[in-house]
Symmetry: C2
Subunit: 312 residues, 2 copies
């Protein structure tokens, strides 16, 4: 009993990646579509309808969207077709019926920062990622693919298709409706599957290929680029604002007439990372721009002590 | 462009309560049941089934629970009855079919710390609150009440009942199955609706009345009590470990033979609070026990400078 520290709770994670967590619990992937060796998610229709009605209940969407009609539009886009034979425009009736404007200054894009971005957006309470909107919330982490035979979808296996249009199309509709200040969270210590450094701004990403070109320039005030780095990265930064691919991004955005503000590791996001690694050295200096009373005090104290000693 | 600070993003919240957020977006309440002037949640059955199948998909529950059967057990407990005429035991078939043991060392209780507890538990990835289990997840934030007439529930109004057994019964089943180290997050700066201080450990809370008495003493290693305080509380602590109602809690637990560790504001939880208030003075000293390299360096530098000056 007493104020002892439960050290067992605060074992410092060796690696706290911005792209993934070290905890073992399974987590639904985001923006997933058909993958090899898994078929359409079991109970897809029931999960779709439950998420659709539940989202509207949570956010009090008005006027109400008819989820049965939305399911028909979604299912109609891919069912009874060859799994790789779906055009992006097939999903448009679904997106037109389910995509609304995000509240001004709330839109957040992400690339390479999946887990951190969603921990921070907090299901749309702080910011809104695509996965915090109605269509994104409904389909997040689910798998589906069509089949020419009844019941119109394949529940045992989905092939890898060159053309997987759902998430790019969802991203297009999402980006087209962004207003005010928008935010993009990128990974300054991004690594590929083999551990080799990758660009923070990847020109092949959905953000680069779909979201950026879909922004309505007249509706956007400023694009805030947040560059996040792993707490244990060594050297600390692989890429930071104004360097490497981020310099390229800033040039593209400026050329397109956007006002851009780039920031490395905003304190709020550092705190979000520090929740899982509170004793990391970087977590002791999260808000380095705040007044350092202790430092000033200690410096003054040192002067006084030395003066006294030397005057003895 | 450049590394300028987007100050607009980091406006310090005047109040960051552990019990609620200042952002305006609606958030489903937790542990809610029937309340006056609102009837059963529209599309209750579809939301129930969607959440039930979705949860199992997310956590890969094995063997699979039949959600249709679970709905029958839930609906059968209250449907076609007077709204206030439901016994706690009516829900037991539902809880028996849906409640599993929480992984060892993961169970987290909370009282007066709703929003912070769930931000920290992260949908069960860090810890498991009742709302991160299958029955809690399915019913969280929903409303329902019976009616003797078809369709068996009232969709326009639910009365305030003296006896609202669902969440206490859910809590009992949840607590009975806790194993290893368990955690409880309490509010050291708790206030009632009028702003008057309340006890951090309320003897009338579900935690005190239901969860504590339901713990299996032989399965519990240690009870970790985390006492959280608002960042802007003045005086900083209303109640802290070893004082007031927390002293009473520690006595009760010790008398019952539990090993208890109480801690005020664990650094991980401070960081979780600091995400929304990164420039709060308390957020600059979250991990005060870590080495302060800058301070040591500055002190040394001061000594050197003064020595040089005095030797000139």
């Amino acid at each position: 009993m007493g104020n002892r520290l439960p050290l067992s709770l605060f074992v410092l994670f060796g690696t706290l990646c911005v792209t993934g967590r070290t905890n073992a619990a399974p987590r639904a992937s985001v923006r997933s579509g058909p993958t090899e060796n898994t078929g359409t998610t079991p109970h897809l229709q029931e999960i779709f309808l439950g998420r659709c009605w539940g989202f509207q209940q949570l956010w009090q969407v008005s006027p109400e969207v008819n989820c049965t009609d939305l399911w028909d539009k979604f299912f109609g886009a891919f069912s009874y077709r060859e799994p790789c034979d779906v055009m992006a425009s097939s999903y448009d009736p679904f997106f037109q019926a389910s995509t609304f404007e995000t509240p001004v200054n709330k839109t957040m894009f992400w690339s390479g920062t999946n887990v951190l971005a969603h921990a921070y957006s907090d299901e749309g309470h702080r910011y809104r990622t695509l996965e915090d909107t109605l269509p994104g919330h409904i389909l997040n982490g689910l798998q589906w693919c069509g089949s020419p035979r009844a019941p119109g979808f394949n529940d045992t296996v989905c092939p890898q298709c060159e053309n997987r249009p759902f998430w790019p199309e969802a991203s297009k509709f999402f980006a087209q409706r962004a207003r005010g200040d928008v935010f993009v969270m990128l990974n300054g210590t991004r690594r590929d599957a083999s551990g080799n450094p990758e660009d923070a701004f990847r020109t092949t990403s959905i953000f680069a290929r779909v979201e950026l070109p879909s922004l309505n320039k007249n509706a956007i005030s400023t694009i805030h680029v947040w560059v996040i780095h792993d707490l244990d990265s060594d050297p600390p930064y692989s890429e930071s604002c104004g360097k490497g691919s981020l310099s390229q991004l800033e040039q593209i955005l400026s050329y397109d007439g956007f006002h851009v503000i780039c920031q490395d590791d905003p304190p709020s996001l550092r705190h979000q990372q520090c929740v899982d690694a509170p004793y990391s050295p970087l977590c002791t200096s999260v808000t380095s721009k705040a007044p350092k009373k202790n430092t000033i005090y200690n410096s003054f104290l040192s002067v006084v002590i030395v003066s006294i000693v030397l005057n003895l």
